[in-house]
């Protein structure tokens, strides 16, 4: 399939995948100008209009906001544990921007570090990701500042490139070839992407050396302490484990959690090592640019800009990091 695909052909392809029983997740225009990833009922729902960022991320395909781990029943003779039925089968993400896919190899590391997370791995193995190279960007985008770009192949099984209203597909993995067959060899010329807006190394250095700097508190005053940034982020992956019980039955589940909640680090004793919102904002930056790279060799941020785009108070990674005083200012 080396010929370019028209929009109709691409939608028909998605329809075929849906008909074959696979779950297909793609961008949908839920409200005017509001593009969200959703499971598609048909290829017709797929948003293929002008470049637009999505509100949520594709991480929900591998780390749902609420996932049952197992259920239990208490008998008079003991407790019976029951595995949850296998998670949804084969899933295909289509037309996600490359910054979404790029988060998956980063997440793979933390979910297979000291323990192989079977729930994550099961969903991950069943997931194929077809990205759509970016043809534009907005003021919040900064993929080029974290070593990625508008056509980064990282995490993609296949990538679509839009040229003159048609889509050329390239494949990078066996999963991608299974979807597109023998696709085009060469990528069409690509967009340059957003300018480099900050140096990631500087963010890391500052977070480490200036851990106690008043900078963090001063720049976090507007933070409301909600979880929007973490929940729309393709790379944030913290979760909480909860039990829900009704009578003698119940289940254990993991739910998304966010470092901006005061409860996130609250100890049973009442002590909270991250007392202020500034401490929590610092944590978010330091984890993404310091802790994670040191441990796993990857920045825990793909520059999608969703945090700042959706923050009700105008904060986010880019607004915070670009405020960091830079020893060597970037050339304008």
């Amino acid at each position: 399939m080396s010929a370019a695909l028209s929009q109709e052909a691409l939608r028909a392809l998605a329809d075929g995948w849906i008909k074959s029983g696979r779950k297909v997740i793609g961008p949908v225009e839920a409200q005017p100008g509001r593009i969200v990833f959703k499971p598609l009922g048909s290829g017709a729902a797929l948003y293929l209009g002008a470049w637009a960022p999505t509100v949520n991320s594709i991480k929900e395909a591998v780390l749902p906001r609420h996932e049952k781990l197992y259920s239990y029943r208490i008998h008079k003779d003991g407790i019976q544990l029951m595995d949850e039925p296998e998670a949804a089968g084969e899933t295909i993400v289509i037309a996600a921007h490359p910054c979404q896919a790029a988060a998956l190899p980063v997440l793979d590391k933390v979910f297979n570090w000291d323990l192989a997370d079977e729930f994550y791995n099961r969903r991950r193995a069943a997931l194929s990701v077809v990205t759509l190279a970016c043809s534009s960007y907005d003021d919040h985008c900064f993929c080029t500042s974290v070593g990625l770009g508008p056509a980064s192949e990282k995490g993609s099984d296949a990538m679509l490139y839009e040229t003159g209203g048609e889509f050329v597909a390239r494949t990078f993995t066996a999963k991608g070839r299974a979807l597109f067959g023998d696709a085009a060899e060469e990528a069409p010329p690509q967009h340059d992407g957003p300018p480099v807006r900050f140096r990631a190394a500087r963010a890391r250095e500052f977070a480490r050396k200036e851990f106690d700097s008043p900078f963090w508190r001063e720049h976090s005053l507007a933070c409301l302490g909600c979880g929007v940034c973490a929940y729309v982020c393709p790379a944030c992956h913290c979760f909480d484990i909860v039990d829900e019980r009704r009578g003698d039955e119940g289940f254990r589940a993991r739910n998304w959690d966010a470092c901006q909640f005061p409860m996130f680090t609250l100890h049973a004793s009442g002590h909270n090592p991250r007392q202020r919102q500034g401490d929590r904002q610092r944590q978010r930056i330091y984890h993404k640019f310091g802790v994670y790279p040191e441990k796993f060799g990857e920045i825990l941020c793909t520059g999608c800009g969703a945090c700042a785009r959706n923050c009700p108070a105008g904060l986010g990674v880019l607004p915070m990091v670009t405020e960091i005083p830079d020893a060597e200012p970037l050339q304008a």
Binding site: E29, A30, Q31, P32, G33, R34, V36, V55, N56, R65, H66, R217, S220, L221, A222, L224, G225, C226, G227, V228, A230, Y231, V232, D240, V242, E244, R246, A253, N255, W256, A258, F261, M263, R276, Q277, G278, N310, C311, P312, A313, G314, L315, P319
Partner: protein, 430 residues
């Protein structure tokens, strides 16, 4: 017929310890038979019955819920039943807006002497629930959502001159030492200006949507010293409420009011406070109030059938990710520890599953009954695009229609929740 199918409704009765429980007891000792479908849960007083308990009952599979207490004037705690009756007015309107079946919700007064009435009520409720069939509100099919129209763009407004005056005012206040920090709007979001030379960071434009009153309660902000806060007429209503609820010393805050011709939000179409009324100084001249119907947005919802409404809200709440941006952006959500964050017992499931999401949004709307100032920050903050203002409007409408009360409008008006009148409506009480 239902009996033949094996369906036996489950009725949960929340009854007060002093009247209805004794009424039930009397029914028992008098050997009055009533259906065994009812499960009685005794509480000290109907005044103690939180809306969340009723929601919980439906979560646990109740087909109908009864709340029953002492007749007016008989409350063991003087007025608990009056409070319950008042709260019930808001709760019913909220549940109806969401699409819960009102035929599943019952409220009665049964005294300790009314064993016979207890028998009758339980028999009737059981028969009705049996006829209605099993209740599965959490299994509603989410509706197919139609895109909503975008908000109208704001009218041309002379932001520039007012912005200039705002920056001068801020610089003056900081220079004079009247305040230590000016909480205002910046290019990207809220800014906290502590030095006169940084007053240039303040802007005034159509993106100044945040209700900055929310920051007055934050520890980090309070530590900066006496604040000045920039408010629009709508934001100012939150200041009034915070003061009313003893959360704010009005003298300790310098209020800079901004006359506003509308920011293009849905709420702006019916704004009757375009100019702050109690600010220490107000920038910008008179603006004409608008007389749109404040509750117009509710009409399409209320025109739906109960099933359609439930299906609409199911689609909305299914998108909720429990990020709590609605709560955090709300100037009236100032609890040190929210009910949703308490886990002994877990009143509201923390999971972002359907039941947890319904429970959360119902509880939040109830906690804002008679308190929500309609700033719509919850809806603006929501990353899932849930139109939360509709819930608040449903509750606010009861306050206005039944009690002539609008939160944050009149400093001295008695709030409708937490108060009662002996003559309160009780056409919904059996």
């Amino acid at each position: 017929m239902s009996r033949a199918n094996g369906f036996e409704p489950k009725i949960l009765a929340y009854v007060c310890n002093w009247c209805t429980y004794l009424g039930a007891d009397l029914a028992g000792t008098a050997r009055l038979e009533y259906p065994p479908n009812v499960r009685i849960l005794r509480l000290p007083c109907t005044g103690r019955i939180d809306a969340n308990l009723v929601v919980k009952a439906f979560e646990m599979g109740a087909d109908a819920v009864l709340v029953s207490g002492c007749h007016p004037g008989d409350c063991h705690y003087t007025a608990g039943n009056y409070h319950a009756r008042r709260r019930w007015m808001f709760f019913r309107a909220l549940l109806e807006t969401i699409g819960f079946d009102p035929r599943r919700l019952h409220f009665t007064w049964i005294s300790a002497a009314e064993g016979k009435k207890f028998q009758q009520v339980i028999t009737e409720i059981t028969e009705q629930a049996r006829a209605l069939g099993p209740y599965r509100p959490y299994e509603a099919k989410p509706c197919v959502e139609r895109p909503r129209p975008l908000a109208t763009p704001p009218p041309a407004e002379d932001f520039a001159a007012a912005g200039q005056e705002l920056r001068q005012t801020a610089a003056r206040l900081l220079n004079e030492g009247t305040v230590k920090v000016v909480i205002g709007h910046g290019e990207r979001g809220p800014v906290f200006v502590t030095r006169a030379e940084d007053a240039g960071n303040l802007v005034w434009n159509a993106n100044c949507l945040s209700n900055l009153a929310v920051y007055l309660k934050r520890k980090e902000v309070r530590e900066l010293g006496t604040p000045a806060v920039v408010v629009k007429g709508c934001d100012e209503r939150a200041l009034l409420m915070l003061e009313k609820e003893s959360q704010l010393e009005r003298e300790g805050v310098h209020v800079i009011g901004m006359a506003c011709g509308g920011m293009g939000r849905a709420k702006c179409a019916a704004c009757d406070t375009p100019r702050p009324r109690f600010a220490d100084e107000t920038i910008g001249g008179e603006r004409a109030p608008r007389d749109g119907d404040r509750y117009a947005a509710l009409e399409p919802i209320l025109a739906m059938s109960a099933e359609e409404r439930l299906s609409y809200w199911t689609a909305q709440f299914d998108r909720c990710v429990k990020c709590y941006a609605c709560r955090q952006a709300c100037p009236m959500c100032y609890c040190e520890r929210c009910l949703a964050d308490k886990n002994r017992p877990q009143a509201i499931a923390t999971s972002a599953h359907r039941m947890g999401n319904f429970a959360w949004h119902i509880s939040r709307a109830m906690h804002l009954a008679g308190r929500c100032v309609g700033c719509d920050e919850c809806a603006r903050a929501c990353p899932a695009g849930i139109d939360l203002r509709l819930l608040n409007l449903a509750v606010a409408r009861v306050a206005e229609r039944e009690f002539g009360y609008r939160a944050g409008m009149d400093r001295d008006a008695e709030p409708p929740v937490g108060a009662f009148a002996a003559a309160d409506k009780e056409d919904f009480i059996g």
